[in-house]
Amino acid sequence: MKIIVLMKQVANKDAILRINKSETWIEEGDLSHEVNESDGYALEEALRLKEKHGGGEVVVCSLGPQRVKSVIKDALARGADRAIHVVSDDTAQLGPYAAAKVLSEAIKDEQADLVLTGLQSDDNGYAQTGVILAELLGLPHATIVIEVDASGEGLRVKRELESGWYQWYAMTRPALLTIQSGISQIRYATLKGIMAAKKKEIKELAPDAEALGAAAHQRITKVYFPQKTKQTQFLGDGDAKAGAAQLAEKLRTEARIF
């Protein structure tokens, strides 16, 4: 089975975000980055499917500037077989349609049995790239997938619905699935894996010019910190311990918890 996993690099979750001078995006300069959370789970699922179903190939694909190499190398160290890096330093705002178009051009000739993506990115959070990509590749898809059964001819996938409900879908293969975090426990890269990764292929591609040129359908005009709607009593004024003591008192006298 040949499986392609799309992995995006995003700002570190713990990063303190600052807004840039023109108020159109965040200050990128001093950010550290990590792999988008659900994409890490998508990779894990791909590796497990390969192991379970007697081999094949796991190919990682990422779009972004040179810094995304760290995501790619980590994926190769965990067990992916090779990678495609669509190199673009263009920080212009591209929507999920353009991103999916670029990615579809990069992987369409691979003829994969399965394409896995994360269910949404932790930064832009459009939650669309995978589904649009499926449409562009002519593949059936399922989103928010929490279990995959590829033992038969087609696929059976368990989808998460709202409020603790689930649903199985039977579908044809090849297909595209967007993977939910928590589908399985993610493995660590071993030293052996890290050494082996050094010999694995990373193919660099330029983004398809026409796909890049596709008009953006949405444009960010301004970014800002959300307006607070609730009056929060901040306690301790930066002194965590003093805040804790005040909180105990408030829980007794104001909230009457005990």
């Binding site: 975000l17 939650a127 008009a215 003591a245």
Partner: protein, 326 residues
């Protein structure tokens, strides 16, 4: 000329989703500001369901019909909606940002060569132009977004962004129009939806919940929060990543894919406050947030906040409560 606003009313097995009527409220407000008529679409096998939506103040309700629409599938819905949108030629298509819409609407938009303005929390109109606001970076930042290019503009609204009870009812029922459509090959078959076996702990009954997030750093630190919970006679709960990592069982997860709780006291320790977490706890009576990031979205719904390290806060808080309890 494209005209009007089309709102997608979602149902599962004949029951409408509350967020559908939130979307109706959003569409009505947009329609009023732009001076454009608002119609609703309902997908199904016949017009029976459409009449339920017709009680709202709408230009009309279009019942988009095909036998293949008896159960939801992304292939079936994308085909049917594509045909409905092409036939009705609206300027805006408004949808609730539910799991079902997330599943098929990007495919629908792609048929028009575009993407969705997804998960909006507001829309405002100035000089006839619409600005949509989205929450990005997991709720930490807002972005104002304008649509480019030809209509239709596809937008989805976050659950809770508008109130369903703000959706205006009409004096008399809106006209229901049947629109039979063709639906091509459907490549997936749904089985019956189900819930996992009964949860071992029912957090909905707890008066006090101590919830931990990724800020707790390691499974070995959970004992610290557990002590506080025991002292207050409360239950321990968590954000999704804690359960994903297997540090706590999934029946202790709070949020859109976990439990929804309304305890007297909810203490969030090292939880950032992503919307999928907030929907599960925001109606708690008293909310306390401890987070080292002063801009963490969780503070937006907290009654009491401490900006600081939870590893400093918890021991002191536990000691002080012990003292006060005597």
């Amino acid at each position: 000329m494209p005209n009007g606003i089309l709102v997608f009313a979602e149902h599962r097995g004949g029951a409408f989703n509350k967020t559908s009527f939130e979307a109706v409220a959003a569409a009505q407000q947009l329609g009023a500001s732009l001076g454009q008529p608002v119609s609703a679409v309902v997908l199904g096998t016949d017009a029976a369901l459409a009449s339920q939506v017709a009680t709202y103040k709408l230009d009309k309700v279009v019942s988009v019909e095909n036998p293949k629409l008896s159960d939801y599938t992304p292939d079936g819905y994308a085909d049917a909606m594509e045909r409905a949108v092409r036939a009705l030629d609206p300027q805006f298509v408004i949808m609730p940002h539910t799991y079902l819409v997330r599943d098929y609407a990007p495919k629908l938009a792609a048929r028009f060569g575009k993407d969705l303005i997804s998960d909006c929390v507001r829309a405002s109109v100035a000089d006839g132009a619409v600005t949509f606001s989205r929450r990005i970076f997991q709720g930490k930042i807002d972005a104002d977004v304008v649509a480019n290019g030809e209509p239709p503009v596809f937008a989805t609204f976050q659950s809770g962004a508008y109130r369903a009870d703000q959706a205006e009812r009409g004096g008399e029922a809106a006209a229901v129009e049947s629109l039979p459509v063709e639906v091509g090959e459907v490549r997936m078959q749904p089985e019956e939806p189900f819930q996992e076996v009964k949860q071992a702990v029912d957090l909905t009954k707890a008066d006090t919940i101590i919830a931990i997030g990724r800020g707790i750093k390691g499974q070995e630190h959970i004992a610290l929060a557990q002590q506080l919970a025991d002292l207050l006679g409360g239950e321990i709960a968590a954000s999704r990543p804690i359960c994903d990592a297997g540090w706590l069982p999934i029946d202790r997860q709070i949020g859109s894919s976990g439990q929804t709780v309304t305890p007297k006291l909810y203490i969030a320790l090292g939880i950032s406050g992503a919307i999928q977490h907030l929907v599960g706890m925001k109606n708690s009576s008293t909310i306390v947030a401890v987070n080292k990031d002063p801009e963490a979205p969780i503070f937006d719904i907290a009654d009491y906040g401490i900006v600081g390290d939870l590893f400093e806060v918890i021991p002191v808080l536990t000691e002080e409560i012990k003292k006060l309890k005597g």
